[in-house]
Amino acid sequence: MRVETGWREQHRSTGLMWCLSAVVILLCLGPLIWQVVTSIKPDVDIVRLPPFFPSQITGAHYDRVLLRSPLLQSLVNSAIVATSATILSIVFGSFCAFALARLPIGGKSVILGLVLATSMFPPIAVMSPLYLFMRELGLRDTLVALILTHTVYALPLAVWLLTNFMRQLPKELYYAARIDGCTPLRALLSVMLPLARPALAVTALLVFIYSWNEFMFALTLTASDATRTAPVTLALFPGLYEIPWGDLAAASLIVTMPVAALAMIFCRHIVGGLTAGSVKG
């Protein structure tokens, strides 16, 4: 008798939980779905509600933002900046992480603490000198300035994740490589890095998403359509008299697409990577 009550109760609570998660899913996706609906509505349907769904589906907004706005150029810029920043921070980050994880250099915990602190900097704190500095070097309004800045601000994360991962690799592998006559550099390149591939992938993913989404540096260091990245173009979207909601919705979805796809495909690795340092720590 008691067992049966427990069973029924469990079922009721399971049902409740399913309902709850359905609501949560709707809350998570709702705003995005609404954006999708808006992006395919003709303009007449956008400025009234109801109808919820478009009377007819139009691709005009996508046409306009892709062909007759600076969005396409800014997507190319974003891709260049995010890819370069990812490669650079992975290269410099893995060298530094290797030194911190395996080589006998001094003050490791101080360095790691500093790394963690750097990742907590408010970017505005460095904005004014960085801006003047880039202008002095003639790098203002170039992609190079952005690549450099994004690389540096992604480095703490890269160093932190990769150091934690390399510390978990067995020491013996490294010593074996050294005894076989490898220099530390060679040991890193041909033994450690291939083993660290999962961590490298997660780090690359996180850096790419960070750089693609970053706004404050991109806003300050660029000044023309030729160098603006996608978030900046989106924030400055032309709206002389009225906000073009349909175009804006289409543009937002296009900008979101690459990072959303990456995040959804690799979500398990991202959560794993971000919790690895803290859960196991």
């Binding site: 399971t14 939980m17 949560v24 899913i25 998570c28 996706l29 705003p31 995005l32 609404w34 954006q35 808006t38 109801p50 410099f92 530094c96 030194a99 911190l100 080589l103 250099i105 915990s109 790691l112 603490g113 963690l116 602190a117 750097t118 907590m120 900097f121 408010p122 970017p123 505005i124 704190a125 904005m127 004014s128 000198p129 960085l130 500095f133 800045t149 540096v152 480095l155 160093v159 010593y175 050294r178 005894i179 220099t183 530390p184 890193l188 693609w212 706004f215 404050m216 978030p231 924030a235 919705a249 937002s252 990072v259 959303a260 990456l262 959560v271 919790t275 803290s278 859960v279 720590g281």
Partner: protein, 312 residues
């Protein structure tokens, strides 16, 4: 020290030219040089700038000592920005952690019955996190639109409000509208991190507690909460640091308005620097923010050191 380690640490013929230590410094150097030039040097430069009155438009550049900081202490707008930032941070982080924990518990409960739940929920919950902040601001700008935005329509239809509210133009609503946007974007991800923590708790503990007659609340309070505390703290810390320096979301959503009621410290400093082009005073504001941020992270690092041991 084993023979192996002895050999690898410089005793053998492999390292005739360069010691392990030397390699270490060389390999760490590029990262340090970059961080030093682009992150640490600008901080020092910002402090130096903050001791100047610098208005490039008028060609003014003079050393004024701590004058900017004295002005800052009496600057009502600075204190208002502090209050806004603090209010925004406290409210959004509290709501995010509470909702995130609740959500994680529900997901965890479901996972034990259907394992596919975790995968589906991960895919769904990661979306708001991956969306660029500027995009999430645009999405919510559209939802908050007073005349034909979805939110007003739904609330009016449901009878919650009598007539449409102009959310972003109302000083009382605007900051809360920003909080809701932030909660939407970050709660699902916080829930995923907490869920990962929940899954490391051995189920045997709960089984043993049930045998001892512990109810749901006792299990939560005596097992779940203490074991989850480190990850709750880490999530809270990272969320706090993000909320304190919030810029893009609020900047695009309200631009700091109406009447500066949603102006956070970052937005005020940004406007001073790049809209009124006061590089000296703007740097003083930025430095003040840096000091606040440093104090916060130091206190957090101390808390973390007490609770977590660094992996060796």
């Amino acid at each position: 020290m084993t023979v192996l380690e002895h050999k690898a640490n410089g005793g053998g013929p492999v390292s005739r030219t360069l010691s392990e230590k030397g390699w270490g410094y060389i390999m760490a150097a590029p990262a340090f040089a970059l961080v030093g030039c682009v992150a640490l040097a600008p901080i020092v430069a910002a402090m130096w700038l903050s001791l100047h009155r610098r208005l490039p438009v008028f060609g003014v550049d003079e050393f004024v000592g701590v004058e900017n900081y004295l002005y800052l202490l009496s600057d009502e707008r600075f204190w208002a920005a502090c209050r806004t930032t603090l209010y925004f941070t406290l409210l959004s982080v509290t709501v995010e952690l509470a909702l995130g924990l609740g959500l994680a518990l529900v997901l965890h409960g479901l996972t034990r019955r259907a394992s596919s739940v975790t995968r589906v929920s991960q895919v769904v919950a990661i979306l708001p996190w991956a969306v660029p902040t500027v995009v999430s601001a645009q999405i919510w700008l559209w939802l908050y639109q007073p005349d034909y935005g979805l939110l007003n329509y739904l609330l009016v239809q449901a009878g919650v409000i009598a007539e449409p509210i102009n959310w972003l133009a109302d000083p009382d609503w605007a900051v809360h509208a920003a909080v809701v946007m932030d909660v939407w974007k970050t709660t699902p991800f916080a829930a995923l991190l907490l869920l990962a923590g929940l899954q490391t708790i051995p189920p045997e503990l709960y089984a043993a507690a049930r045998i001892d007659g512990a109810g749901w609340w006792a299990q939560f309070r005596l097992i779940t909460l203490p074991l989850l505390l480190p990850i709750i703290m880490i999530t809270g810390i990272f969320r706090t640091m993000d909320a304190v320096r919030i810029f893009d979301a609020v900047f695009v959503l309200t631009g700091g308005g109406p009447g500066n009621t949603t102006e956070t410290l970052s937005i005020y400093a940004y406007k001073t620097l790049f809209q009124s082009l006061q590089f000296g005073y703007g740097s003083a504001l930025a430095t003040a923010m840096f000091i606040i941020g440093t104090l916060l992270s130091l206190s957090y690092l101390m808390v973390l050191r007490l609770h977590l041991r660094e992996p060796v």
